[in-house]
């Protein structure tokens, strides 16, 4: 076992570990640029230098390449070390003023603003990209080209590379974001839009879906993954220290027997491009509320920076348009999307946080702010002049002189208004998640004409469905905000628990029963039952031999609709309470 000291801390190292490895284990920060854990170190950039004070020949050595040795004493942040790094950074900064990491490091080491001639580059010539391509990925699509100051990273003969598989490993390892394989790869490489950020930025094929994902682990998007597309690459596997990547894993259909199902498939926003007058999809500065939400989010694509998508400038004037598609009988959704008024009020506040001197306008039809403290919130926005609320509809959004002209009616103020805006934010109608119809059909639950899922009873059984054991929570039921979704989810959860924690189920008595003496076992009833309540029951003789397979009604699932009994030709199925005899008697009595 190797024993050494770093910054006075005693440490143990295994054979083959570098000083960098040991320091990182001790959580001692050593900056690196040309180092990548997947690639054997070269110590080329010399940012990682540390000082050996004892145990070997004293002096500066690159931590990434220098092996840990017994008795070494090391300082990682001595004056000598800092000096060395400063000098390195000064040169790098001059060469690569564009590289953000260099800028930041240089700032830290006071290596900025030196009177050096600046080049306009990002590349620090560490060669990581070349090596990763050759040593790890294999194709060796990139190489150093030219000499001296002309030296650069390129492809052989500076041609579009036929061998580049577009894996992006080079870009991935590049410390300064200096390389973009799209520039030299003969395969057309498309950015993968980051769904979570409404496509406002892009992501890699292996990625963590969104910041709060559960579990918070990366997934591979097979459609875009180079390995799955070409069989090559494998970069992620090589670099994963936990060796967690297994390309042979298959999607699995997991079957679970459950006693209850809660449907919480939520909502999505309707595509506002269908309303041409607002110019969504045509003018980049017209965005949806969801896109806006991501833009102002600190974890969002812009890191919370609000810029006009068209030119990156701060939007000084912003217009929020409400009810895009909502409450529109003719060409939209007749219902109120319920959440837009409140989130727009929130958005105006967020906007004001980002652009203190900005001006926000809200075109609305009615402000619907029912809910605890909601009205106060909106009042505040209006009173404190966070935004100017204009009651009326916008008839047209069109560009003029770099601005977006928003023309609308102010029905309270009277007359036409026209606002020259930098950005327009649309609040599209809330609609159920796509595919919900299929799901509903699978679960045999109802949905309304807008595909929102149907509760069993609007007042008495609001989170239950007509299929026993299936419950609803959240915006899949109707547009609703988070508190309401949570309330419903809690209700659904307790209903579900109520169901699965009891030994016995209570149910309506009006369910179907099978006459086993006459059932033919044709299972025509099984097909018609919307609730999958008909099961196949094996009838055994006393020796345990199956003598017949007959219909059996799962009492927990049957809803008593009676469709099965009508289908059953031999009349072996009847719904209690609506037995054939009862209906015959009714017919007879009523015919007098």
């Amino acid at each position: 076992m190797i024993k050494l000291t770093i910054n006075g801390n005693e440490a143990e190292a295994a054979e083959g570990q570098t000083i960098l490895d040991v320091a990182r284990e001790l959580s001692i920060e050593i900056p690196t640029l040309c180092h990548h854990k997947a690639i054997p170190p070269t110590g080329a950039c010399r940012i990682c230098v540390v000082e050996i004070t004892a145990g070997a020949r004293p002096g500066l050595v690159p931590a990434c390449a220098y092996p840990a040795q017994d008795g070494l004493e090391i300082q990682t942040d001595s004056e000598r070390v800092r000096e060395s790094r400063r000098m390195t950074l000064q040169l790098l900064e001059a060469r690569c003023p564009e590289a953000k990491v260099i800028q930041e490091m240089a700032a830290e080491y006071g290596a900025l603003d030196l009177p050096l001639e600046r080049k306009d580059e990002k590349c620090i010539m560490c060669g990581l990209c070349v090596r990763v391509c050759k040593e790890i990925i294999g194709p060796a699509a990139t190489c150093f080209a030219g000499r001296g100051p002309e030296r650069e990273i390129s492809t052989p003969y500076k041609l579009l590379s036929e061998v580049c598989i577009g894996c992006g490993a080079c870009a991935f390892v590049c410390p300064t974001e200096a390389i973009d394989p799209a520039e030299f790869c003969s395969i057309a490489l498309e950015k993968i839009p980051n769904e979570f950020n409404c496509g406002l930025d892009s992501r890699t094929p292996v990625y963590i879906p969104f910041p709060q994902a559960v579990p918070n682990k990366p997934v591979i998007d097979r459609e875009n993954c180079i390995h799955f597309r070409t069989g090559g690459c494998g970069a992620c596997k090589t670099v994963c220290p936990a060796d967690a990547i297994d390309y042979d894993m298959e999607d699995k259909v997991v079957e679970e027997e459950v006693g209850a199902i809660v449907v919480a498939t939520g909502y999505q926003l309707m595509d506002p491009a269908v309303y041409e007058e607002y110019g969504y999809g045509k003018y980049p500065d017209v965005v949806t509320s969801m896109e806006f939400e991501r833009m102002v989010s600190a974890s969002g694509p812009t890191g919370g920076g609000l810029h006009r998508p068209s030119n990156g400038e701060l939007p000084k004037t912003i217009v929020f348009l409400q009810c895009i598609g909502s409450r529109q009988e003719t060409d939209g959704k007749p219902y109120c999307s319920k959440i837009c008024c409140m989130y727009t009020a929130k958005h105006t506040i967020l906007y004001k946080h980002k652009v203190h001197d900005g001006q926000a306008f809200v075109f609305y039809m009615d402000v619907r702010s029912g809910g605890k403290n909601y009205e106060d919130f909106v009042r505040r926005v209006v009173k404190e002049k966070v935004a100017t609320y204009l009651r009326g509809r916008v008839s047209k959004v069109f560009p003029r002189g770099g601005k977006l002209m928003v023309r609308g009616a102010d029905t309270l103020g009277g007359g036409q208004v026209e606002i020259a805006a930098d950005m327009v934010v649309l609040a599209p109608a809330v609609v159920p998640s796509s595919g919900v119809q299929e799901l509903a059909q699978k679960l045999r639950i109802g949905y309304d004409q807008h595909d929102f899922l149907l509760e069993a009873h609007p007042k008495l059984r609001p989170v239950e469905t007509n299929t026993a054991g299936v419950f609803l929570a959240g915006a899949c039921h109707s547009p609703m905000d988070i508190p309401e979704s949570v309330a419903q989810a809690s209700a659904a959860a307790s209903k579900a628990l109520g169901l699965v924690t009891h030994e016995r189920l209570t149910r309506e008595p009006t369910i179907a029963v099978v006459d086993e003496l006459t059932c033919n076992g044709c299972f025509e009833c099984e097909n018609v039952c919307a609730y999958k309540a008909i099961e196949r029951k094996e009838i055994l003789d006393k020796d345990g031999v199956v003598t017949a397979v007959l219909a059996h009604v799962n009492e927990g699932l049957c809803q008593g609709c009676g469709a099965c009994g009508v289908t059953c030709r031999s009349k072996s199925l009847e719904v209690e309470g609506f037995r054939d005899l009862q209906l015959f008697s009714a017919i007879s009595a009523i015919s007098r």
């Binding site: 003496l517 007879s588 009595a589 015919s591 007098r592």
Partner: protein
């Protein structure tokens, strides 16, 4: 009965007879042809509807006296909870004359008479029988399915008929009177037929080619209630009621109530020992659980039980069951098989 029992009638006698009876207000039932070529006995309102082109009428004679469905009683619930119960109304007073049935069918009436008068005299059956005079037509051309002779009948059998008619090729006929009822009818028809010379010979009896010995068969049946034979012999039988419903001697029936909320009627309907539910109990137990047992019952009843009980075979050899069976079950082949074993 008087001496004179043979009458001579010229061609066209049937028309005159029917017209005369109709004008007297007598109900006349005679063979009528249907579009599909079948001939059945039906009330006629003129002699024109009658056909003479048939081997035998499709449906058996029994249904005139034992209809396939008939009301036994009618009932009506009164407002005070009492129930008014009425017997079935008696058949019409007027007489009925039936023309055209064959000797096998009339012979079958003997079987029915026995059953319906046994101990308890079935009132409605008796009334219907009493008002009817039966003028049977002797068989001229029995087909290969006919087998009246082995079961004690004959194409010229007079059993059960009041008058038996032998039609000659020229349309004229010899009428043989067998009962006082027949005599009365002849009196009534006075002009239509004249007494015939005792020596005006009857036509020859046509041949029946099928033969077996019911005695022999009964002997076998006596010992073979339990026998593999039945399972094999009944395999093709699908258990419908065709053979029994068309059989002139089969007489099983069911009694059911039908009605609306406060009124209804109790009906007697034909039933058949071929049906699976015929003897089934509420518990699911069925004394005749399979078609073998049911087919056995049919044969046993006709050739063993009935003769034991009433002294005659309950089959008259009309051959209807052979013709009607949709799957080709053939009573005669079965009897031959029995005879052979």
């Amino acid at each position: 009965m008087s001496e004179q029992n043979l009458f001579e009638a010229p061609a066209g006698w049937l028309k005159s007879a029917v017209d005369a009876l109709l004008s007297d207000g007598v109900e006349v039932v005679a063979p009528v042809g249907a579009e599909d070529g079948t001939v059945d006995l039906a009330p006629v309102s003129s002699s024109g509807a009658i056909t003479l082109e048939y081997l035998n009428v499709n449906q058996p004679l029994k249904r005139l006296f034992f209809p396939q469905t008939e009301v036994l009683i009618e009932f009506e619930r009164q407002d005070d909870g009492d129930i008014d119960v009425k017997s079935q109304s008696a058949p019409p007073e007027e007489e009925m004359v039936v023309f055209g049935c064959r000797p096998c069918d009339t012979a079958a009436l003997d079987v029915l008479d026995k059953v319906f008068a046994w101990d308890y005299d079935d009132l409605r059956y008796r009334e219907r029988r009493e008002r009817a005079t039966i003028v049977a037509f002797a068989c001229t051309g029995p087909d290969p399915q006919c087998f009246c002779v082995p079961v004690g009948g004959s194409p010229h059998g007079s059993q059960g008929s009041d008058v038996l008619v032998f039609t000659r090729d020229d349309g004229s006929a010899l009428l043989e009177v067998n009962t006082p009822k027949g005599e009365k009818l002849m009196e009534r028809l006075g002009a239509v037929a004249r007494p015939a010379q005792p020596d005006s010979g009857l036509p020859d009896v046509p041949d029946i080619h099928t033969g077996f010995d019911p005695e022999k068969i009964k002997l076998w049946l006596d010992d073979n209630f339990e026998n593999e034979f039945w399972a094999g012999a009944s395999l093709m039988c699908v258990g419908c009621g065709s053979c029994t419903y068309l059989c002139p001697t089969c007489h099983c029936f069911d009694i059911v109530d039908e009605g609306i909320w406060n009124r209804g009627e109790r009906r007697r309907n034909w039933d058949s020992c071929s049906f699976g539910q015929f003897t089934a109990h509420a518990s699911g137990h069925n004394p005749r659980p399979d078609q073998a047992a049911r087919y056995r019952q049919r044969v046993m009843h006709k050739f063993k039980y009935f003769p034991e009980r009433f002294g005659l075979v309950a089959c008259v050899g009309c051959g209807r069951c052979l013709r009607a069976c949709g799957v080709g079950q053939n009573l005669v082949s079965v009897l031959h098989d029995i005879e052979k074993t």
